[in-house]
């Protein structure tokens, strides 16, 4: 009886959330009612203990630090220098600036933990020159949005930091496991842009002569000085984690500190900049962590009601084999991505899915990588697509909504392709952590 009650939590949650009341309080309120009906007033101390469980979690403390690193980097001026450096090399290629966009987004995603930071930073730099050179509008829109979304999977990523505690697995290991899937995605994007430039009418032409005149020695020197700060930042965060030198939380703090130093170094640091970055950090982290609280309460009550068994019974009644269950879970995450933000998807579904995935004998780290790749699509699937909102904030008025939607489609498909590849070849995710940390 109680178990069946647990399955009602989802339709109720969907109805309430779509009424437009803040997701956090919807999740908390529903947890309270279902909890009271099943456990009586005992639920009240239980939910405040869920709050303590989030509030004394050392690993989750990395989230605001990564966010601060991102808000600081946005103001550091690093994007401009990266853009100048990379476009020096890609100028001769067809659709070269679109390639630049993906490469820049990859580097910025590897420096910061937040999604969308790269989109605005890179978009502001790359959209005007692409428009000027007559790039296909849909290509511009799709590339900038998909590039921004790369921050979800490319480590460090707050999504991964939150996924670890939600699934009960090591964040450090998962961060390392997502390196190759992340690089796979950005390579697939670059490949697509290059291939497309040959099949497409009105492809974007290479830059003509001006940059071919730069002598190679000067080009190399500019590249070293331009890339050095990013390389150092990437090492400070992921390098220290990989070497076991620092915990992810410490690595996040080192990265945040580095991003402040970089801003000072580029001469863009003022107290006002610091204050703006700090206030934006508070806004994003509080919003995100509160959803986390609501999600943990929701899944706590759901699991307390025996929801995990109920889900399993439902799945076995449908005669689903292990792989069918896995595909079904990923598909749920994909569908949810059209309407929900990543944090809600992750915090509602992962605590429920991961015990079942464990029981079926799948590797939890590998499933984590697949799941994170899957919710990356939530960033670009309308109608709830942060990627589109950000783009509209920076796109020129000539770019229509229809072009934006059309631009997203190929990248959505490419993401699915990459998920299938990692699903068929688990070693893409699992080889590096096994090599570096050893077996689970």
């Amino acid at each position: 009886m109680m178990e069946n009650l647990s399955l009602f939590m989802f339709p109720v949650m969907i109805l309430v959330v779509f009424a437009g009341f803040p997701v956090v309080f919807s999740l908390m309120g529903i947890s309270l009612y279902f909890g009271i009906v099943s456990f009586g007033p005992e639920i009240i101390p239980m939910i405040i203990r869920r709050v303590y469980g989030v509030a004394d979690n050392y690993v989750l403390a990395a989230v605001p630090l990564f966010i601060f690193m991102g808000t600081m980097l946005e103001r550091s001026g690093i994007a401009k220098i990266l853009f100048e450096t990379i476009s020096m090399w890609t100028g001769r290629i067809r659709n070269g600036l679109a390639v630049t966009t993906i490469l820049m987004c990859t580097i910025i995603a590897a420096c910061t933990g937040i999604i969308g930071a790269a989109e605005v930073m890179v978009g502001v730099m790359a959209i005007p020159p692409m428009m000027k050179r007559g790039y296909n509008h849909a290509l511009i829109a799709g590339t900038v949005i998909a590039g921004g979304a790369l921050g979800t999977i490319i480590p460090p990523s707050v999504v991964t930091v939150v996924y670890g505690p939600a699934a009960g697995i090591s964040v450090g290991r998962l961060l390392i496991a997502t390196i190759f899937p992340g690089l796979l995605l950005s390579s697939v994007y670059v490949l697509y842009i290059l291939v497309r430039s040959y099949g497409q009418r009105g492809f974007a032409p290479p830059i003509s002569s001006e940059d071919l005149d730069i002598p190679l020695s000067r080009k190399l020197k500019a590249t070293v000085t331009g890339m050095l700060p990013s390389v150092v930042l990437i090492f400070t965060v992921m390098g220290t984690i990989i070497l076991g030198f620092a915990a992810p939380t410490e690595a996040a703090a080192l990265g945040a500190f580095g991003s402040v130093l970089l801003t000072i170094g580029y001469g863009n640091f003022t107290m006002k900049v610091l204050q703006e970055a700090a206030l934006q950090t508070l806004k994003i982290s509080s919003m995100m962590m509160m959803i986390l609280l609501g999600g943990f309460m929701f899944s706590g009550v759901f699991l307390g009601l025996g929801g995990s068994d109920a889900t399993e019974r439902m799945l076995s009644a449908l005669h689903m084999g292990p792989w069918a269950v896995l595909v079904f879970f990923l598909f749920v995450a994909y569908l949810a991505g059209f309407l929900l933000d990543w944090a809600s998807i992750l915090l509602i579904f992962v605590p429920i899915f991961s015990p079942i995935i464990d029981k079926l004998g799948f590797d939890p780290i590998w499933f984590g990588a697949l799941f994170i790749m899957m919710i990356q699509t939530s960033y670009l699937t309308p109608p709830m697509a942060p990627g589109i909102f950000y783009l509209k904030g920076i796109a020129p008025p000539e770019m229509t909504t229809k072009e934006i939607f059309r631009g997203i489609v190929p990248y959505m498909l490419l993401q699915l392709v990459a998920v299938v590849v990692v699903a068929l070849f688990p070693q893409i995710a699992l080889w590096l952590p096994e090599k570096l940390i050893g077996w689970n």
Binding site: V16, V17, F18, A19, G20, F21, P22, V23, V24, F25, S26, M28, G29, I30, L32, I44, P45, I47, I48, V51, Y52, A55, D56, N57, Y58, A61, V63, P64, L65, F68, F245, A246, T249, E250, A252, A253, L254, A256, F257, V260, Q275, A278, L279, T281, L282, K283, S285, S286, M287, M288, M289, M290, I291, L339, L340, D341, A343, S344, P383, M384
Partner: protein, 169 residues
Amino acid sequence: MMASYVKLIDDLSGWTGKWVAWVIIPNVLALVYEVIARYILNSPTIWSYEVTYFLYGSHFLLGAAYVLSVDAHIRIDIFTSHFSARTRAVIDLVGYLILFFPVVIALVYAGGQYVMQSFEMGEKSGLSPWRPYLYPYKAVITISFILLLLQGIACFIRNITLLARGERP
């Protein structure tokens, strides 16, 4: 009078937000110091672990009221954004009454009890050799929910005034 309450609480939340935002700086510095102390000075601190989550938890929890005051908690408004402002105000009022107030009041109440209990027991953290008292942190958590409740009441009143007068105060 209601309007002055709303103004007072909005100011309070804005002020807390502005100050709490700075907590991220000691959070970064404490961790950087810990890494330096461990590898360069060869003497890791005993407080880094606890101080880190004290600062992180205080940061996002005390910030929640500020985020509510600027209406930045995520809403899925794809269906409701086409509704009139009045309809949305009605939805919000119902949401506050049925969802927000019961759960936030429960959190304030249960949290308050835990603070008293923690204080009377002299509860200490068992997560590190430093073993700090836990009641101050638990008090901060409860204060966060009190601030959130006050801001919720302010938002509730704002919606009522909107319905009554057809405009925002």
